[in-house]
Amino acid sequence: MDKKRVIGNLDNPGLPYEYDKREYGTVPLDTSRDPFQWVSEVAYKNTHRIVTRGYDTTELMEQGYGITDVMFINFQARIPTLAEDQMLNYILILSLEDGLSMPAAMSRMVARSKTFLTQACGTSILAFGHAYGAYSAFGNMLLSALEKGESEGKDIETIAKELVANKLGDPALGVSDLMLKDPAAKRIFARAEKLGVAGKYIAFTKEIVKAAQSASSTPVDLDLLAATGAVMMDLGFTPEATWSIIAITRSFGAGAHYIEEVEREEHTRLGESLTPKEMYDGPDDRPVPPLADRDKAATPAKTSTPDEWKAAFEERKKLHGSGFSIIEEIHDPSKKTGVKTLGKKI
């Protein structure tokens, strides 16, 4: 295409290329490499069969296997023992429902917009992060602590004490005051031991509980996160697999909450919900400056020196919702075991 003119800064000699010489049009098919295909270690299908990890799924069902067996096959490429299958069923029952907690609330809020059930179920899965249902954080914490401690020749009691010294109070530790009166978490470990599926992760978590109880000034005990997380890892599921399995399982419960919300409550329309002024603590009501006076009213964000930057940063932190009082710790490339955390306040 012949251009009649140069646009904006696109002929600026500061550009490292001649923008106007760049081609239009799509990139031709790359025939120098193998064509794109969906590569999978997990499953394939053809016109007549669906095969996961080598097993035809219809043949699996006809042989009497079921959904929990297929979870082992999908995530671990193996048939579980009967005890392992029983334990997974046990965990899933406890993970199915949690009353009006976040996944249910999120599902119900989506339901109010008059949506598909699947939107609400999917939304409920998003409730699982690094605080609520922190299975990835919990599991990877166990893995990295054990790897580091074992490489240094420490026993699990010592490793647990060191971990608790750093993590007491962290929602991903799995030891808290949430289940001081509810026996369900401890029953999970007891069942795992009775079924003979308890392994190193339950043993380590028990040491973490002991260390936390010793270090904490208030009563704490094993909670559902650590109980289910440790058992799932002893069943061979990775932290990521556990995270997704528990979140998905809760999504069935969230589906029931979607249904009940539609059955018993009203839909919400755009603009319907009000926010009373007594809930507001932002800037006082003020007149909108005339557009012609915008430069007088405007406060440019630009800073030029580190001191100016710091002062502006501190000032901006005072405005809730601006994002300046949240820091996300990024991976430190100088440390092999750097841990990324989200949403930590400065």
């Binding site: 295909q37 007549h48 699996l60 999120m106 059930l117 409730a127």
Partner: protein, 298 residues
Amino acid sequence: MTREPMLSRKTSIAYKTAEKTVLRGYDVSELAEEGYSFCDAMFVLFQGRIPSEKEEKMLKYEMGAFLEHSMSPSAASAIAVTAGRPNLPTAVAAGVMTFGGVHGPGAAHGYMMNKYITRAQREDKTLDEAAEILVDDYMDADQPVMGMGQPQHTDGDPRAEPIHLQQEELGTNGAYHEFQRSVEKHFHARRKREGKNYVGVNVVGAGNAALSDLGFAPNAAWCIGSVARGYSCATHAIFAMKKGRAWAASKREPMVQMLDLSMIKYVGPEDREVPTQEERQEYAEAQKKSGEYKKWVI
């Protein structure tokens, strides 16, 4: 720390105290301790009842059969979402959310069955007669009959007929099964009369009939199917995250990647020069007046 619920609601599903979590009256820990299965708990969740052993077995079969479907819209979505390396639940949620009007339309199929069975009951027709009316209604309107056909399993969905047979073997087959079988019979007969090729029942048709006979409402059945698929979406997403390339566009891979630039085939308006702001108003008015743009509006 507040332990107040996130929403204030009357609910007949569950309650949770510091001592226990209770689902439809049953302490979930006691359900698990007693040896009930996850599938048993699904009946408690959606129907408030303990199922018979055969009902539990049927649901176990159904959910197991539906869990994995390899490269379908749900798995593809989960894999695509991982390319940006968000938190894993994002990819899993995307997979579940692909279930809509075409991919696993479980609720719609259930409502369709209820509508025509209601008609049979009101108009004193047999299930078979109502099924024939359904087939004619849809085919006369040139609409696909829900529960029939699958774009990949063109010779018949490998899960569907075995689900029907399992239902019959376990004796959990009821009115829905009979109705669905009749839909298939009339569907096949009409296509044959019209000289059309064979299109088999799919997993929604067979599976939803089974779930309906187990007492699950259309949306509950849809939830069971679509969320069960979430487990395999998670597997595909984790595989892509752990063993695939982020961004899925690397030129260093021996195989062209999913988001390689060469995968783009553009069929939109020709390349054209951006008008200046001085030209803008006149240009925009002429463009709007010509109406040529309308063929691109989506």
